[in-house]
Amino acid sequence: MTMLDLKTDELDQPPSAVAPNRIWASLRSSPLALTAIAIIAVWTFIGLTIDLWAPYDPLAPAGDRLQPPNAQHWFGTDTLGRDIFTRTMYGVRYSLPLALIVMFFTVLIGSVIGMLAGYYGGWIDYILMRLTDITAAFPPLILAMCVVAVLGPGIVNSAIALVAVWWPITARLLRAEVLSVKERDHVMAARVNSASDRRIMLRHIQPLCWAPVLVNATVDIGIVIIAIAGLSFIGLGSTPPTPEWGQMIYEGAGRYFNWWIATGPGLAIVTLALAFNFLGDAFQKALDPRRGEG
């Protein structure tokens, strides 16, 4: 092995990308980030254990209809006499996992498209980015509505629809990162070492591209939670009697005199979406202190 080989071999190792320690240190010093993590942890705990301590059955009447909040029914009861507090607690079992799954596939699809477009450039870039432009040209919820209406209503189809409309953001962000990372020395070195395209993309470029995607995905989990509820609200997501938040808000929409029907599930969405917003904000600060101020 010659000297030159040794040298390129060292250069070949990608510089450490998103340093988990540094992020954690930055998050720990931010009260907002800690609050956000606590809120998400509490909701996760509720979702996992609700069967053990739910005060009432989420699907069966628990008392008189349309009671305002009181000592027995903290969030009141709905038009069928079901306990809204119980139903709200059960709701996290739909919204949170679904939003995480939607975000996972969104990031996966968006990353593959962004990576291929950024790495290969040329006509592949042109075609993939035009496809991205076209998908992004629709207001997302409206296109999602359209996709669900075509696929048929249902909570799984609404998740598929959201993935289908949400990936362009990740694709654009990742492509921009790839364009700058692929010019770096260690990528050149890997090329000189005749590493395969696949290896360069996965080992040398991909680990350095995550900062903006991570920030965006975190904030977007909150937005997707709202979008899932929105589709159910429209009547395209979950079907009654599912205790899904958007569905529950819809049940309260025509009866705004009985304000409490929508209040519980609404507050649930706000707390969870806000937590992901704060967390995304904190990630942004941790990863890019200057832009984090903006």
Binding site: V147, N277, G294
Partner: protein, 336 residues
């Protein structure tokens, strides 16, 4: 400058062709046979009749022919017939558009004025309590589902406080307006109907506050960021060195420099407004495109939903195009 604009314009047909292709794939490629939407179960039993209807709607042609027929029809303004209303979709959409535009323009004005003001204040007092508060509120703003806020404000504003009327676009108790532009505020003024103008104004307040709130956070954050960027540029440093006061710098220099990006920001949030309008209209019984979209979606009337999707996509593209052109025209650096 003309070349930049021409370059942007040439991209538009391609994107619109893409939009049409996606909507076509959605209807014919994925959806079940459209015939099930057109005919009732009883009519479906009659095979001759089904064949006749297929021929009438061109559903017996090969898919590729249907695709070109679809493109050709759409270019001519024929978006098909709604299963639900049995009307041509284009005329349905045109009838609903003024209501939505009135709502969107009203809320964009509220959110634009408030958002730019708050963004400037936050940038001017960067790092202060005011800045932190404004940023926190704008984060909270984007975490509140607009359809929930609408219900809560409807309860607070019209039941508890009784400041605003309930849902609807104009009071049922006054004589209806004659046909005009479809923009009730304008029609009322033109027809000299002061009572109708007052009623329409009172009705539009609450839904547009809800819609404005949904984009206020985004506008504030983006305006603040672009102000801070502007504050770091050389000409601001020069102004500071010459002893210009910080308010004068904020308002006369930084704000002017970031007005351009504000145009882009407002075009960008237009998409959110279209989405928000869909949900807000449903709650406020606002007879616009959003209400139409939801009613169509609930009835699985997908030619109608595709029509709304297409129109909102094209509108969104055009709004962004106009913003780009304004940007090009207004920014001397790009103009050269």
């Amino acid at each position: 400058m003309l070349r930049t604009i021409a370059y942007r314009l040439t991209g538009i047909p391609l994107i619109i062709l893409g939009l049409l292709t996606i909507t076509f794939i959605l209807t014919r490629g994925i959806a079940s046979d459209p015939i099930y939407g057109i005919l009732s179960i009883r009519e479906l039993m009659n095979e001759d009749y089904v064949a006749l209807v297929r021929e009438k709607y061109g559903l017996d042609e090969p898919l590729i022919v249907q695709y070109f027929n679809y493109l050709w029809n759409t270019v001519q303004g024929d978006l098909g017939t709604s299963f639900r209303t049995r009307q041509p979709i284009l005329s349905d959409l045109l009838a609903k558009t003024p209501a939505t535009l009135e709502l969107i323009i009203f809320s964009l004005t509220i959110a634009g004025v408030l958002g730019v003001t708050l963004g400037c204040l936050a940038a001017r007092f960067e790092g202060s309590v005011l800045d932190v508060t404004i940023r926190a509120v704008s984060l909270v703003g984007s975490s509140v589902p607009v359809f929930w806020l609408a219900i809560i404000l409807l309860y607070l504003g019209s039941v508890v406080l009784d400041w605003f009327p309930g849902p609807g676009r104009i009071s049922q108790r006054i004589a209806p307006l004659e046909d005009g532009t479809g923009f009730f505020l304008i029609d009322a003024l033109v027809q000299g109907r002061w009572d109708a103008f007052q009623s329409a104004l009172r009705q539009i307040m609450l839904p547009s506050i809800v819609l404005a709130w949904s984009i206020l956070g985004t506008i504030t954050r983006l305006v603040r960021a672009s102000m801070l960027d502007a504050m770091e540029s050389d000409f601001i440093t020069l102004a500071r060195a010459k002893g210009v006061g910080s308010w004068a710098i904020t308002l006369r220099h930084a704000l002017r420099a970031s007005l351009l990006s504000t145009i882009t920001i407002l075009a960008h949030v237009f998409g959110y407004l279209l989405t928000g309008a869909v949900l807000v209209e449903a709650i406020f019984a606002w007879p616009g495109l959003g209400d139409y979209a939801i009613e169509s979606a609930r009835a699985l009337d997908y030619p109608a939903i595709l029509g709304v999707t297409l129109v909102s996509g094209v509108t969104f593209i055009l709004v962004n195009l106009i913003a780009d052109i304004l940007y090009t025209v207004a920014d001397p650096r790009i103009r050269q």
